[in-house]
Symmetry: C3
C-alpha cells in the first residue's frame, strides 16, 4: 500500500500502485497511473492519462538494459503534462517542465529547470544538464550527454548507432557542450561532439565534431564565416 498525504489532490480513476511515495501538495490528473516504487516530491503536478515509473521491456532482437535500476524519482516543483510516459531508473530534478505526450526512458537524469517539450523523446542512459530546453518533437537518442543551458530546436533528430542495427558495436549518442544551440530539424550523427555556445542551423546534418563558438549549417554542416 502507498501512503497518500491528505494534501494530495487526485483526479478520478487514478491508479497508485504499491510502495509509491508522494510528497505534500502533489496534484495528479484523471486516469493517470503511478507504478510501483515511484517517488514524487512536494508540489509536483502531473496531468491526465500519464504512466509513470515504467519497468523496461524488450523483445529478443533488442538490447537488454542494465538490471538493478532504481525507481523513478521526481524532485519537488516539477510539472508534468498529459499523456506522458516516464520509466523507472530515472531522476528528474527540481522545477523541470515536461510537455504533453513526451516520453522519457530509464537511466536518464534531467537537471533543474530544464524543459522537455511536447512529444519530445529522451532515450535511455542519457544525461541532460540544468536549464536545458528540448523543444517540441525533438529526439534525444540514448547514450547522449547535454551539458547545461543547451537548446535543442523542434524536431531535431539524433542517432547513437553508427552501424544501424548491426550487432556487437557499442552505442554512443552526441555530446553537446554548454550553451550550444541546435536549429529545428537538424540531424546529428552518432558520437559527434558539438562545442560550447556553437550554433547549428535549421535542417543541418552534422557529421563531424564542431569546435566551440562557431556557427555551422548545411548538408553536411560546414562552418559559416560571419
Amino acid at each position: 500500500m502507498s501512503n497518500i498525504p491528505e494534501s494530495a489532490q487526485l483526479g478520478n480513476y487514478v491508479v497508485i500502485e504499491d510502495n509509491v511515495i508522494l510528497g505534500e501538495g502533489v496534484v495528479i490528473g484523471h486516469h493517470t497511473t503511478i507504478l510501483e516504487g515511484t517517488q514524487i516530491g512536494d508540489n509536483v503536478s502531473i496531468g491526465c492519462n500519464c504512466v509513470l515509473g515504467i519497468k523496461p521491456s524488450v523483445n529478443k532482437r533488442m538490447r537488454k538494459t542494465s538490471k538493478g535500476y532504481t525507481n523513478l524519482t521526481i524532485q519537488p516543483g516539477t510539472r508534468i503534462g498529459h499523456l506522458v510516459s516516464i520509466y523507472s531508473g530515472t531522476i528528474i530534478e527540481k522545477n523541470v517542465f515536461i510537455g504533453d505526450h513526451a516520453s522519457i526512458r530509464e537511466n536518464v537524469s534531467i537537471g533543474e529547470e530544464s524543459v522537455i517539450g511536447r512529444a519530445a523523446i529522451v532515450e535511455l542512459n542519457t544525461t541532460i544538464g540544468k536549464s536545458c530546453t528540448i523543444q517540441t518533437q525533438a529526439y534525444v537518442t540514448g547514450d547522449t550527454t547535454l551539458e547545461d543551458h543547451v537548446f535543442i530546436g523542434p524536431c531535431v533528430s539524433m542517432s547513437n548507432d553508427k552501424y544501424m542495427g548491426a550487432k556487437h558495436y557499442s552505442l554512443k549518442g552526441p555530446y553537446i557542450k554548454t550553451g550550444a544551440k541546435i536549429g529545428n530539424n537538424a540531424s546529428l550523427l552518432p558520437a559527434i561532439v558539438i562545442g560550447a555556445k556553437t550554433i547549428i542551423g535549421a535542417g543541418a546534418v552534422v557529421t563531424k565534431n564542431l569546435e566551440d563558438k562557431i556557427v555551422a549549417a548545411g548538408v553536411p554542416a560546414k562552418k559559416l564565416n560571419w
Copy 2:
C-alpha cells in the same frame, strides 16, 4: 455540474468536469476527460483517452501565455481521434478532423473541414484556415498563420524563434498563403512568407521568403525552373 443530453453516448470511465456544454448526439470514448468550461457542438465525436480543455501551465524559464483566455470550443460535426490533447482558448470549427495522438495548444483557431494529422502538433497563437491539411507528425509552431487550402506534408518542421531561446525577442512563425504545399520533412525558418500556390520539395530548408506560384527545393531552398 454539467448537463449531459440524453442523446450523448459516453464510454466507460469518462470524466466530465463542471460547466461543460455538450450538444446533441455527442460521442465520447472510454477514459476521456473533458475539462472545465469546454463547449462541444452537436454530433462531435471524440475518441478514447483524450484530454480536452487543458489550462496552460509553464515553469519559470518558459514564456507565460496571455491570461483571460476563453474556453475550448468545438463546433458541430468535428471528429477527434484517440489520445488527443487540446487546450482551452482554442476554437475548432465545423467538420474538422483531428487524428490520434495530435496536440493543439491554446489560442489556436482551425477552420472548417481542415484535417490535423496523426501526432501532428499545433502550438499556441496560431491560425489555420479552411480546408487545410496538416499531415502526420507535422509541427506547426506558435505564432504562425496558414491561409486556406494549405497542404503541410508529413514531418514538416517549423520554427518561430530566430534566437533560439535568447530572451527579449518576439516570436514569429511562418506565414503560408492560400494553396501552398510543403513537402515532407521540409524545414521552415521563423517569420518566412511562402507565396500562394507555391510548392516546396521534400526535405527542403526554407530560409527566405518565397513568391507566389513557384516551386522551390534544396538546402537552402532555391526556385526551380520547370
Copy 3:
C-alpha cells in the same frame, strides 16, 4: 460479452468490449481499451492507456478506406507499450515489439520479431516484413512495402502522395528491399524503390530509385564511392 480466461491479468479500469478473444496469460495495463472484435494471442502483454482495435473514421475531405476490413489480430508473444493506438484490419505477427506512443493504422501487416519504435507511426495498407526495425518517431507512410530485415532510423520521413492532396491520383509509398538501412531523419519520396542492403545516410533526401548494395547520401541523395 467477451470470455476472459482466468490466466489473464487485467489492470484497473480496463475496458474490454464485446466479441474480444483473449489467449492464455495475456497481461493488460490500467486504463487500456480493447475494442470490439479484437483477437489477442497467448502471452501478449499490453501496457496502460492503450486503444486497440479502432475502426477507421474520416471527414469528407479524406479518402475512405476499404470497407469490409477484418478485426485486429495480435499473435502470441507480442509486447505492446503504453499509450499505443492500433486499428482494426491489421495483423501483428508473433513476438513483435511495439513501443510507447506508437500508432498503427488499418490494413497493415507486421512480420515476426519486428520492432516498431516509440512514437513511430505506420499508416494504412502497409506491409512490414520479418525482423525489421522501425526506430523512434519514424514515419512509415501508407501504401508502403518493407521486405525483411529492413532498418528505418529514428525520425525517418516518407511520403506516398506525389501531388500533395490533389485528387484523382493514386497513392504509393516507398518499396524498401531486404536488409536496406535508412539513416536518421532521411526523407523518402513517393513510390521510390530502395535496393537490397543499400544504406542511406542521415538527413538524405531520396528522390530516385536506388540499386542494391550501394551507399547514398546528400540532398538529393547520390551514390557514394567507397
